[in-house]
Amino acid sequence: MNTPGTALFCARLLRRQLVLAARRPVDIGNPLLFFAMVVALFPLGLGPAPDTLADFAPGILWIVALLSNLLTSDGVFRSDFDDGSLEQLLLSPQPLYLSVLAYVCAHWLVTGLLLALVSPVFALMLNLPATGIVALFFSLLLGTAVLSLVGGIGAALTVGLRRGGMLISLLILPLYMPVLIFGSAAVKAAVSGSPAAPYLAILGAMLSLAVALAPIATAAGLRISVDA
């Protein structure tokens, strides 16, 4: 039997996920809308003074990005688990590690990447100085990829549970903290005029580690969830 190449299979999985997302565009728009709304809450809570907002902008933007990533992570495997597609994926002769990467990659493309692309608009609304915007974009680009990978672990461990939504936050928020620290630090550094590159390098290092290890845990979690 000629099993098709793994690269081809993963490309197909990625395309399938993107097609599914594209056929329900609301699911792509929702996290962005969430991002916009929560950003709008901060001036209401903190007051509209431009200086205060500019001070807090790196932290606000990063926390909101983290939350919208968290909320979408829950659904990465859910529909495939519910309709039995996940069982079939586990039984297929393809390596689960790479299939998981394809899932996570699709998730990042429709959430993290889009968030990074629209983030300059919200940065301007919060009065973030222009020097910080480039750093914000690149830190979100790298950081949300780490968040998607780590979120995948939480999603895999909770996909079989009825009340997964709240639980996944409890499991993976502590793991998100290093990304938050370095992501917002990169923006703050850029705003204060020092180079953001070292922080981006650390985010890159976290990304490499997460790419190497997170799919292993996610794959193990999926096997356990399908088993239960």
Binding site: M1, N2, T3, P4, F9, R12, R16, V19, L20, R23, R24, S79, D82, D83, G84, S85, E87, Q88, L89, L90, L91, S92, P93, Q94, R223, V226, D227
Partner: protein, 194 residues
């Protein structure tokens, strides 16, 4: 091949000391009342359940497992669904996929989104995999659910053809089988193959 399987669920012993082998040209019908562990047994054989049971399962060669769920995505067309499901195993041309879909009576529905189809048609999309499968062993959990009478007859003749070519089928069903082949029965309350 299964050896000395026993399964306990919620403090109740479902079966114990269950040993049997599935050989080519065999149809095995797993029987038992609701909650006897039929689905659990099929999932253990498929390798989806790895914890919570005692014993050993050895698999030789590829197998095809179709479970309770139809594994059909509502936002994909039957053609896309089927193409995706078989893509992990082997390369198929568009014609082969189209032929399989028309074998299960979905000719004309290949390119509509699946959420417009009925539950039985979802099931058929999934069962179309049987027509493409080159795996010798089929593990089927309630394959006739939501399938009409003529569909059931067709599936049964497909099973007969499969085992005559040297394949094997293990299935659970609440319907009486009417297959042109000898059917071994595995009653889970008895625990041994007659």
């Amino acid at each position: 091949m299964a050896e000395d399987l026993s399964l306990e669920r919620g403090g109740r012993q479902l079966f114990t000391g269950l040993s049997f082998a599935v050989r080519p040209q065999q149809v095995i019908l797993v029987e038992g009342a609701n909650g006897a562990g039929k689905t659990s047994l099929i999932r253990i054989l498929a390798g989806l359940s790895r914890y919570g049971f005692e014993g050993r399962v050895a698999r030789h060669g590829p197998m095809l497992y179709l479970g309770h769920h139809s594994a059909v995505k509502a936002l994909l067309t039957p053609r896309e669904n089927l193409a995706w499901h078989v893509s992990g195993e082997s390369q198929y041309t568009d014609d082969e996929i189209e032929a399989a879909l028309s074998r299960v009576g979905l000719h004309g529905y290949e390119d509509v989104l699946s959420h417009t189809l009925s539950a039985g048609q979802h099931r058929r999309v999934n069962l179309a995999r049987l027509y493409l499968s080159r795996s010798p062993l089929w593990l089927l959990d309630e394959p006739f659910t939501a399938i009409d009478v003529s569909g059931v007859a067709e599936l049964q003749s497909l099973f007969a053809a499969h085992v005559k070519q040297g394949g094997a089928v293990v299935l659970t069903s609440h319907q009486a089988l009417n297959i042109d082949h000898q059917v071994s029965r595995l009653d889970l309350s008895a625990g041994v193959l007659p």
